[in-house]
């Protein structure tokens, strides 16, 4: 078979991505048609910058999701090495392609003769699955601690701010090197951190619901039991693996029995997740604290205080909703920053398995032969760039639109 020309490669990639295009077109037509009824999300479609950013982000979200469902990738087994495809340029026909197999390496082969295009798509899923979730957890931790620090002030604020500054003064890379090594994983330190950090969403939910409904015990009690029961179950599934919370050669702490544990997080992934949340939460804390200190002087807070509302009700139902604008904007930026951090971890070969298709690791693999072969390293680099750019543009669009109110 002949190698593909540049035009053919581009056409074939566009065709491979067709589910993504269809979804994007559907999403945009629906959103633009109903944009007046969609609140802040609808207003996004008034700003060209926001639309471009949202488009880039959703492109990678769809690509990641469909890629994980094997709808886009040409060679679903991203670890498969095909002989004779090592460092081959984009569009090389696959040697000995069997019936039903995709006959080309659209973006060439890397130094282990694996398909660059398929790894790129699978790598998108790695990012899409970790980054937003890590940002959500960082926000939960930051909000749960930042609201009381800003609202009560005093000793609590001094202590929490000191701790936040302590983490912020740490060079991120040093922290990663200290936390994300197999030796540290063996001591169980990341598991302890996971146990502490993942409690915050439960505390947040509990306080949120209790402060709202505590005057109606008949609704509150079943609601809290239901929500917290489920959340605790999820939490225990998350932090315990194989029936143990922590398992080191010397000692162990038993956790959820295996019967009730439906998913296990790979220990490498858990440590990456924990350290990314850990690095991000102090910044969120500082933002929330600053916003709270600003908003607590407003009249409606004074009115709620005069009505005799509890402190937590005021924090979560009066202050937090009014701080949502800057927080949503920062949330977008934080997902972008998390993506960069994940890439950094991959770039230094920390945490994720070396053969993992995530973009940072792929860039790291590809950079060693960069002066001769460009195609293994450039696609993930450009992909990461476009996703983070999209998130930044989206944040900018949202900021512009929320300022117009």
């Amino acid at each position: 078979m002949e190698p593909l020309s540049t035009f053919e490669i581009i056409t074939r990639i566009l065709v491979q991505l067709s589910p993504v295009w269809i979804s994007l077109i559907l999403l945009y037509t629906m959103s633009i048609a109903f944009k007046r009824r969609l609140g802040l999300y609808g207003k996004l479609f008034d700003s060209p910058i926001g639309m471009i950013g949202f488009g880039l982000v959703m492109f990678w979200v769809f690509t990641g999701v469909y890629g994980a469902m094997d709808m886009i990738v040409t060679h679903p087994d991203v670890l498969a090495q095909v002989s004779g495809m090592k460092n081959k340029v984009p569009g090389t026909p696959m040697r000995g392609a069997e019936e039903g197999e995709y006959a080309w390496y659209l973006l060439g082969g890397d130094n282990l003769a694996r398909d660059v295009f398929s790894r790129l798509i699978k790598g998108a899923w790695e990012v899409i699955k970790i980054a937003p979730l890590a940002a959500i957890f960082a926000f939960m931790v930051g909000i749960t601690l930042g609201l009381p620090a800003g609202y009560f002030g005093g000793k609590l604020d001094t202590l929490l701010s000191f701790l936040a500054n302590l983490i912020l003064a740490f060079p991120v890379i040093l922290l990663f090197y200290l936390l994300v090594t197999p030796e540290i994983v063996a001591t169980g330190v990341p598991n302890y951190m996971a146990i502490v950090l993942f409690v915050f969403p439960i505390i947040f939910l509990a306080v949120l619901l209790n402060s709202r409904f505590h005057t109606r015990p008949k609704l509150r009690t079943p609601l809290l039991i239901g929500v917290l029961g489920f959340a605790t179950w999820m939490y225990l599934q998350l932090v315990s693996s194989g029936g143990y919370l922590i398992k080191t050669p010397e000692y162990y702490i038993p956790g959820l029995p295996k019967v009730l544990d439906f998913f296990d997080i790979d220990s490498g992934l858990l440590v990456v997740f924990v350290s990314v949340v850990f690095v991000n939460s102090p910044t969120v804390f500082r933002i929330v604290r600053g916003l709270t200190m600003d908003i607590k002087t407003r009249d409606y807070v004074a009115a709620a205080q005069t009505r005799g509302e509890g402190s937590w009700y005021i924090m979560l139902w009066e202050i937090l909703p009014n701080a949502r604008g800057p927080l949503i904007v920062d949330f977008c930026l934080r997902i972008g920053y998390t993506t960069i951090l994940l890439g950094t971890l991959g770039f230094f070969g920390l945490g994720l398995a070396p053969e993992s298709p995530d973009w940072g690791s792929t860039i790291n693999d590809g950079r060693k032969l960069l002066s001769i072969y460009l195609h293994p390293a450039l696609p993930p680099a450009l992909a990461l760039l476009s996703l983070v750019l999209g998130l930044n543009l989206l944040a900018d669009g949202l900021r512009e639109e929320s300022l117009k109110d």
Binding site: L166, E183, L374
Partner: protein, 374 residues
């Protein structure tokens, strides 16, 4: 001002102590020590051999005691055996008489930063040498980054919403969205590879760390200036230094210029600018003489606070361009669990972060007379 600086310095010392203790604790966890023993001894050591090696080299003591010894507030350990005396403050095995003469305290308070197990050299030697290399890099980064960031910010913020503003803001968003390992890879691919064929620059900066030749001298100049000049201007050439410098500067540049733009647009809407315009002062004079001074207060803080982030970039860029500076030492120390080197690296970086925070606070007060410290 005096009490403020004193209080900040006290907080700074407490922070540095806490952080070094965290590093100390993490590097002294048993699996890490085991790895250290195996790399220093041999990889096939049994568990008993590891334990006895750790005991022999003073690693088996409680963490707090070891931390105290490292700080220099607890006397260093000594151990007498048949061959002679070994100890924290002695190099190798010495006789009892020599041991009696060795100082009993040797921690960072006494100026002893310890001994690197990877490089087999004094930590202070390694760190100061590599800091010099990174200093040269940072010197050029600041020269490239700060003026261009301020220029972009001022030009964009001068007329809000204009075409210049829109295009320059897009450029700054683009640079903040490009982490160093992405822009570095793209630059290497475009400007140094044989595939694209431009080959304008070198893909490594190794030659910029060249040793100063002994006969190098500049007429009428003191020695320290010669060393400085060699490091920043002779060894680094445009060919081997431009790409690393550009890679680090671009990422920080976007953020600084966006802050400058925000502060500039705010100043440009102020009453006194309108008054100046209505008096008939030319637009150029309004910007340069009236607006600029006030608009540059906020970016000053941002630039100072950018230093900790630059350290991140330095580690990535030094790895990518194979430049053996401070970031490279950090990676080497961390991946080999070289405890004392790693501690020295973290002390230096933490001090850099905290000192820049202090300077930015003090500078902010000096630049902005409206703020008074309570």
């Amino acid at each position: 001002m005096g009490p403020f600086i004193l209080r900040r310095t006290a907080v700074m010392i407490v922070t540095a102590l806490c952080l070094t203790f965290i590093v100390f604790f993490l590097t002294n966890l048993y699996p890490n020590l085991e790895k250290l023993a195996k790399t220093q001894g041999n990889f096939r050591m049994s568990d008993e051999a590891v334990a006895s090696w750790l005991d022999k080299n003073g690693y088996a003591q409680p963490t707090f005691v070891k931390y105290g010894q490292w700080l220099g507030v607890v006397p260093g350990w000594t151990r007498t055996s048949e061959d002679g005396v070994t100890g924290r403050c002695m190099l190798g095995t010495v006789t009892a008489e020599q041991a009696a003469q060795a100082p009993s305290f040797c921690g960072i308070i006494q100026g002893d930063w310890g001994y690197s197990t990877v490089f087999r050299d004094d930590v202070s030697q390694i760190v100061s040498k590599r800091l010099g290399m990174t200093g040269a890099l940072m010197f050029w980064v600041l020269i490239v980054m700060v003026p261009s960031a301020l220029l972009i910010g001022v030009l964009a913020g001068m007329r809000e919403g204009s075409v210049t503003d829109r295009s320059l803001s897009t450029v700054s968003i683009l640079t903040t969205a490009t982490p160093e390992y992405v822009s570095g890879v793209i630059f290497i691919a475009v400007f140094t590879s044989s595939t694209v064929g431009l080959k304008w620059f070198k893909g490594t900066a190794t030659s910029a760390t060249a040793k100063m030749p002994s006969d190098y001298s500049i007429a009428f100049m003191p020695e320290w200036f010669e060393a400085f000049w060699f490091r920043v201007a002779v060894a680094p050439t445009f060919e081997n230094f431009f790409l690393p410098v550009l890679t680090i500067s671009l990422y920080g540049m976007g953020y600084i210029s966006r802050m400058t733009r925000a502060s500039m647009t705010e100043v440009m809407t102020a009453q006194y600018i309108r008054t100046a315009r209505l008096k008939g002062v030319s637009f150029y004079n309004v910007v340069v003489k009236h607006a600029l001074r006030n608009a540059l207060i906020a970016p000053f803080t941002v630039i100072m606070l950018q230093f900790p982030w630059l350290l991140n970039g330095v580690v990535i860029v030094e790895t990518l361009f194979n430049y053996k500076g401070f970031g490279w030492v950090l990676v080497q120390a961390a991946s080999n669990n070289d405890i004392e080197l790693l501690l020295a690296v973290s002390v230096v970086s933490v001090v850099v972060v905290l000192v820049t925070q202090l300077i930015s606070d003090i500078g902010y007060v000096y630049l902005n007379p409206r703020i008074r410290i309570t």
